[in-house]
């Protein structure tokens, strides 16, 4: 299927799916194109639409086989006008982080990779808002970026069996908060007390694609206090 506009490529993704790959000089731009296309389709709400699963620079469109075929979906992709969608309508969140919490601290690894001091690492992580590119992997796990280049650290060679709830982590150009204890291969910076996922909330996931997140440093006492308030 032919590319057009910000679309670089469209490929089949199963019998009932098309995956759309977007262009962009930066990942932020490509992701903006993903979000624009997503909200444009969502607004049109075609009867055959089953799900829209955004990645960083991709959008997987799943359709009802009884109501559409790949050509129907391609026509929809061509006819929606993502350019007209408003941008930056996501929510802004501020998340306090107890940097260097002993249960979640890879500062020595990060120092080795970046050559930065602890203060510089924290400054790099708190200095700017990050965009939520997509949510996936586990419920409520939000992939955010892009980190300043000086902070780019590769994933651990072998993932940990268990990363604690609320661990704040970085890998390559991304940062994230583990909403629940899980295995994980990212480098840990500290702990965040803010609950990000609860299956019983009406909206179980706090951070949504397109939202912006700003991290700021809190003390251990503040972290414990916030944790306590939630009980």
């Amino acid at each position: 299927m032919e590319a057009f506009g910000t679309v670089r490529e469209i490929q089949p993704a199963g019998i009932d799916g098309l995956i759309v790959y977007f262009n962009g000089t930066t990942l932020t731009q490509a992701n903006q194109a993903v979000q624009n296309m997503k909200s444009a389709i969502r607004e049109d709400n075609p009867v055959w639409l089953k799900a829209l699963i955004p990645g960083y620079d991709t959008l997987l469109v799943l359709f009802d086989l009884n109501l559409a075929d790949s050509h129907t979906v391609y026509q929809e992709l061509r006819s929606v006008n993502p350019a007209q969608q408003a941008t930056g309508n996501g929510q802004h969140h501020r998340l306090g982080v107890w940097y260097g919490a002993p249960q979640a601290c890879d500062f020595d690894i990060i120092r080795r990779h970046s050559g930065l001091s602890d203060e510089q690492i924290i400054a790099g992580h708190t200095g700017q808002p990050f965009t939520v590119f997509t949510v996936g992997f586990a419920p409520g796990f939000a992939y955010m970026g892009e980190l300043p280049e000086s902070l780019h650290c590769p994933r651990l060679d072998s993932p940990r069996k268990r990363v604690p709830t609320g661990a704040v982590a970085i890998a390559d150009a991304q940062t994230a908060v583990y909403p629940a204890a899980s295995p994980g291969g990212w480098n840990l910076l500290g702990l965040c007390a803010e609950p990000l996922f609860n299956p019983h909330w009406e909206q179980p996931v706090k951070l949504q694609a397109g939202d912006t997140v700003e991290f700021y440093a809190i003390t251990e006492a503040q972290y414990q206090e916030r944790l306590h308030e939630q009980r």
Binding site: P12, F137, P199, V205
Partner: protein, 319 residues
């Protein structure tokens, strides 16, 4: 109507409660889809019980033993399934009417294959994202909504409906679980990033189902296939997607797959063929055949027609 209790006397090797899974849009929040891996058998046993498309069932590996404390209608299906009521053999693929105190026992003669047990009525279990499925990895679903599998001694409460008729899935409707014909694969995703001879190698080779198979993915072993694309960003994974990690051994993504993944994919097992792979056991061999997305849809519509007729016939009878 009063409720009926099902007591699990033995849960076999692994028994879960599964339904048709969560709404696909739950994936946007990171929830896996979950639900029956062999959705075809799941649908048929529910039809036998006169249930809606989304009713909960037991999905069991090994021998499952249940007793009921009230009259309940049940049905069992799966590959080479044996069923007994009070130790007397009874047919699979038909509605079974149990009396209070009866014991139902079922299992597949093929160790590792999955049986599905449906019950006429509503299961009194919590829902997450509109599904009663147990997802062990996420720790949700089940009696205590903590993702633990079904255990002996547990009691499942059902709000039964009256089911007076006895339905049967007759021979032409019973799924053919054989793996002697190739699994259809809709080529796509990174297909073009595989060199033509690597693609040929994949479709010409026989793969063995390894013992690393779970609801997240089935790992196969055989001829390694490599992709020219070394790094890629995580992207949405559809049911049946065939990932090829750096070791070149295919992993087919199943019901509890994570929503995003970053390995190159050569395509997806066609939705109408996933049930055959879902019922494969370690040591089975499979081959693949390339189909394009439009032919695959035509195949899906044709094969789906039989089952839809079955359900529609039932729905019109109810009026």
């Amino acid at each position: 109507m009063s409720s009926g209790n099902i007591t699990v006397e033995s849960a076999g090797l692994l028994t879960l409660v599964v339904d048709a899974g969560r709404h696909l849009s739950a994936q946007e929040q990171g929830f896996c889809v979950s639900g029956a891996v062999d959705i075809r058998t799941y649908n048929l046993v529910n039809w036998l019980c006169g249930n809606q498309h989304h009713a909960a069932t037991f999905e069991c590996i090994g021998e499952l033993v249940l007793t009921v404390d009230a009259p309940l209608s049940l049905a069992v299906g799966g590959p080479q399934v044996d069923v007994w009521i009070n130790r007397q053999p009874v047919p699979a693929w038909q509605t079974l009417h149990l009396k209070a105190g009866d014991e139902l026992r079922c299992g597949s003669a093929r160790t590792g294959s999955k049986c599905y047990v449906a019950v006429t009525g509503q299961w009194q279990l919590p829902r997450t994202q509109a599904s009663q499925s147990i997802v062990m990895r996420e720790g949700v679903g089940g009696l205590h909504n903590d993702g633990t599998p079904v255990k002996a001694g547990q009691v499942y409460e059902i709000k039964p409906r009256n089911m007076s008729e006895t339905r049967q899935v007759t021979a032409p409707y019973i799924p053919d679980y054989s793996l002697s014909t190739p699994l259809d694969v809709v080529t796509g995703y990174q297909y073009h990033a595989f060199a033509p001879w690597q693609r040929q190698l994949f479709f010409a080779s026989e793969y063995t189902v390894s013992n690393q198979i779970d609801r997240m993915g089935y790992r196969l072993s055989g001829q390694p296939v490599s992709c020219e694309m070394r790094t890629m960003r995580s992207e949405g994974i559809n049911f049946g997607a065939i990932q090829l990690p750096p070791d070149g051994q295919p992993i087919v993504m199943m019901s509890d797959r994570q929503t995003l993944g970053g390995y190159p994919k050569i395509g997806c097992v066609a939705e109408y063929d996933i049930y055959r792979l879902a019922q494969a056991v370690p040591g089975d061999t499979v081959t693949f055949r390339a189909v394009d997305i439009d032919n695959a849809r035509a195949g899906w519509l044709l094969r789906d027609r039989l089952e839809r007729q079955l359900f529609e016939q039932f729905e019109s009878e109810e009026i």
